[in-house]
Amino acid sequence: MKQVVFLLILIFNLLSGVSQQPKRITVCETCELKSITEAIKTASDHDTLVIKKATYKEYNILVDKPLTIIGENYPVIDGEDKGEIIRIVSDNVTIDGLFIINVGTSYTSDYAAIRVVKSENFVIQNVVLEKLFFGIYLEKSNHGKVYHNKIVGDAQDEYNSGNGIQLWYSHNIEVSNNIVQGARDGIYLEFSHNVKIHNNKSTDNLRYGLHFMFSDDDVYTDNVFENNGAGVAVMFSKRITMKGNTFRKNWGTAAFGVLLKEINDAEIIENTFEENTIGIHIEGSNRITYKGNNFIKNGWGIKVLGACYTNTFSANNFLYNSFDISYNSKLNDNVFDGNYWSNYTGYDLDKNGIGDVPYRPVKLFSYVVNQTPEAIILLRSLFMDIIDFSEKVSPVFTPDNLMDINPLMTKVQ
């Protein structure tokens, strides 16, 4: 049997052309091939280019055949601020272990360190990008992987900086284990469906850590978004899943852990929102399940602004937020059930772990602050506590059906 298989393989190899055996081409300062552009020209399909450690001053490198480009000990490609550095226009390209710096800045075209255009099955991994405009830009490219890259930008102003990782009309992509910092938007998605964003760390970006619009069926797991200008913005998308992410220290007048705008049928599970000005800001989002999230020490745990229907909040922990929930209207169509509220003052006489008195998470004071923002300075004053208490007894300004009937007595683990 073994012999037959061997024979078959041999015949197959002969038919497919032995002369096309993949080669290894080495590029270095003292080699025959001194530039990457030249090497790509001489290479044939499925070859491997090994780039030795040196500084290559090149830009507009066009990868137009299926190649594997591997850097040894992080060779530097210096674009000298002249424009785009690598453009991939072929399927099955792998880029591994390069150090790319000085991408050109332009106000008319989006220069990127690595741009993938209309290609499939690409892998970009272990790449370090510094001094960039756009980092990794995927344009109408599907079934790729962006893995374990480090992108360090030095963005100062929004108008002349670009995004760390940008996906535009790119589907079925996996973006995982990347570190993005100091860009305009850390990770940006537009019209990209079925994307998996996993275990990335997006910090200190100028605008959003993660920003996506019109991208359905995407999954976000175990990412960390910290200290971004405006946190994370999620807009106009359906059926997304966010699980196990951490949103931390997004402070400012328009900063959110997550901003949800026109998001429908999503699942937000087991995320942690810590010390944000607003944990989750919800606008026009329906049928979302919030389960097992931790809201810790935020200014506002959840801020609901108009037209949010049939959302369920269950088994979440609300710990030491200045305001747990804020509403701007008297209408409520959302369900709060079985959450733990650190501000709950009720009792549990039958000892079933559920408080015997419902908890009203919306305080009158949050309503006052919505009307006159300066009043925030009266937070935790005795006068406000007295008013809040009277509102709690007989709700006038806040939705009277908004309450958690089964508030938990102990934290959800």
Binding site: W251, K297, G299, T372, I376, I377, L378
Partner: protein, 260 residues
């Protein structure tokens, strides 16, 4: 002055009320920590207690002490002692013993529950410093009231009214004015209004630590500068010192002029 301070201080340290006050805080601290077992939550509750209760107790204690020791004061006045040292001595004796009860009463349970190992130590220190300042301020305010009113009932009434005004009514008026004038930029006004009330001032100081994320949600350059930098802490501290020093200064002036 120090002799009188020492005398007042020891007199109070030996008195029952200091112990009651001390035990009250001790009990409060233990109960809070026992119920929550979470230092940061206990600190929030404690803050509410401190900014309301400390002024109340200091005011009442101060005014009671002044009226009670009036005969002794008159006896001292007959001696060749400077008037300012008599009154300052008494004042620091009262304020000192109250502060001591507060610091030890709250300090002991928190230290036993592992304060030094938690990251809440700075918040807690701030809480104690604020509490101490509130004691100093409200004791001297009550001394001022007592000195200006011979009638005990009247003096007592004024003192309670002062507390009620600063703790509750002031914030009500403050909120009303914010709502009435909401068309105008009010961030400068609201910060200034906070400065004129020691209770609000200490509340703000604690908010700076506990609720900074909410405070930064407001759009306003003045707010942002005040809360976003160390400026807020320094200005609030400076104002608290001013709130202590100015009434003491008045106490000295009045006591020199007063005809006993």
């Amino acid at each position: 002055m120090f002799k009188i301070l020492k005398y007042s201080f020891y007199d109070l340290i030996r008195s029952r009320w200091s112990y009651v006050y001390f035990l009250f805080y001790l009990l409060l601290g233990f109960v809070l920590l026992f119920l929550n077992n979470d230092i940061s939550k206990a600190i929030i509750t404690l803050m509410n207690v401190i900014i309301i209760l400390v002024p109340l107790i200091s005011t009442i204690f101060g005014i009671m002490y002044f009226y009670n020791s009036k005969e002794f004061t008159e006896l001292l006045l007959a001696q060749p002692i400077k008037r300012s040292s008599i009154f300052l001595g008494q004042y620091f004796g009262v304020a000192g013993s109250l502060t001591l009860s507060l610091v030890f009463g709250l300090g002991i349970p928190f230290v036993l529950y592992g304060l030094f190992k938690s990251d809440a130590i700075f918040d807690f220190t701030l809480l104690l410093v604020t509490g101490a300042f509130l004691t100093l301020i409200f004791t001297v305010l009550s001394f001022n009231i007592a000195l200006s009113n011979e009638n005990k009932i009247k003096g007592f009434g004024y003192a309670v009214l002062l507390w009620l005004f600063l703790a509750v009514i002031y914030d009500g008026l403050f909120l009303m004015s914010l709502i009435v004038f909401k068309e105008y930029p009010l961030d400068g006004f609201s910060l200034a209004a906070t400065m004129f009330n020691p209770i609000d001032l200490s509340r703000t100081l604690i908010l700076l630590k506990l609720d900074i994320s909410a405070l930064l949600g407001y759009t306003g350059a003045v707010f942002k500068k005040f809360f976003g930098t160390d400026q807020g802490l320094f200005i609030s501290m400076f104002m608290l010192v001013l709130w202590t020093v100015l009434p003491i200064w008045r106490l000295v002036i009045i006591s020199k002029k007063k005809d006993f």
